[in-house]
């Protein structure tokens, strides 16, 4: 298994509170991604990073921010959580820029916003 650790694995919080999810990798891969997974939808890209301090938006980035101060850590922040952000969040990593490389995923964070 790829060395990807997501924390926390489960979190319940209230609307309006800030939430930060962490993804930690031990593979020294350059590219990291945050996805959300919801019933009826495939995985949807929130943000991704192509290097330390280099990030870009995905298709569902509204309400989320990210930071990557070290190669191994990629943080996803919900500044003011809303119920629509209740989801399972997955981090993924990949080694190369070439699109012909698989992404490898962590085991997810289940986030419930009440």
């Amino acid at each position: 298994d790829a060395g990807i650790t997501q924390s926390p694995r489960h979190k319940v919080t209230e609307t309006g509170t800030p939430v930060t999810l962490r993804c930690h990798q031990t593979e020294n891969h350059r590219y990291m991604y945050w996805y959300r997974q919801d019933p009826g939808h495939g995985l949807r890209l929130i943000h991704y990073s192509y290097g330390v301090k280099d990030t870009d938006k995905g298709e569902v980035s509204d309400g989320y921010s990210v930071s990557r101060s070290k190669t191994e850590d990629f943080l996803l922040t919900l500044e003011s959580a809303t119920s629509s952000q209740t989801s399972v969040y997955f981090c993924a990593i990949s080694a190369l820029r070439d699109s012909n490389q698989p992404q490898h995923f962590g085991d997810g964070t289940r986030l419930s916003i009440l």
């Binding site: 009826g40 995985l43 820029r97 995923f105 085991d107």
Partner: protein, 111 residues
């Protein structure tokens, strides 16, 4: 096949049967395709991938077939085992590392 609703399509097979899971992709410009397996409570696990310059690729007990004419991808699992029970979904790659994922098919394997 892929689901567009809340309920995943389900394929039920007996242990030892061959399974075929289908996926229709959307973009004729996609040049890279991946199959993932996802077990309950876990993240997607890479199974096999294929580039658009190929129409077949084999792995251990798995084969992926690509038909670009009809934009169709299939995953064949030989001698299906109970441990193969999971949700399987395909992803298509277009552009820099941006994968587009299908919603998946649930495979149920009975002993």
């Amino acid at each position: 096949g892929e689901s567009v609703g809340l309920h995943l399509p389900t394929l039920s097979v007996q242990e030892g049967d061959n399974s075929i899971i289908n996926c229709a992709y959307s973009n004729s410009a996609s040049d890279y395709f991946i199959w993932y397996k996802q077990e309950s409570g876990k993240g997607p696990q890479f199974i096999i991938d294929i580039r658009s310059n190929m129409d077949k690729r084999q792995g251990q007990r798995v084969t992926v077939l690509l038909n670009k004419t009809v934009k169709h991808l299939s995953l064949q699992i030989a001698a299906t085992q109970p441990g193969d029970s999971a949700v399987y979904f395909c992803a298509e790659g277009r552009g820099f590392q941006k994968l587009v994922f299908g919603t998946g098919t649930r495979l149920l394997v009975s002993p």
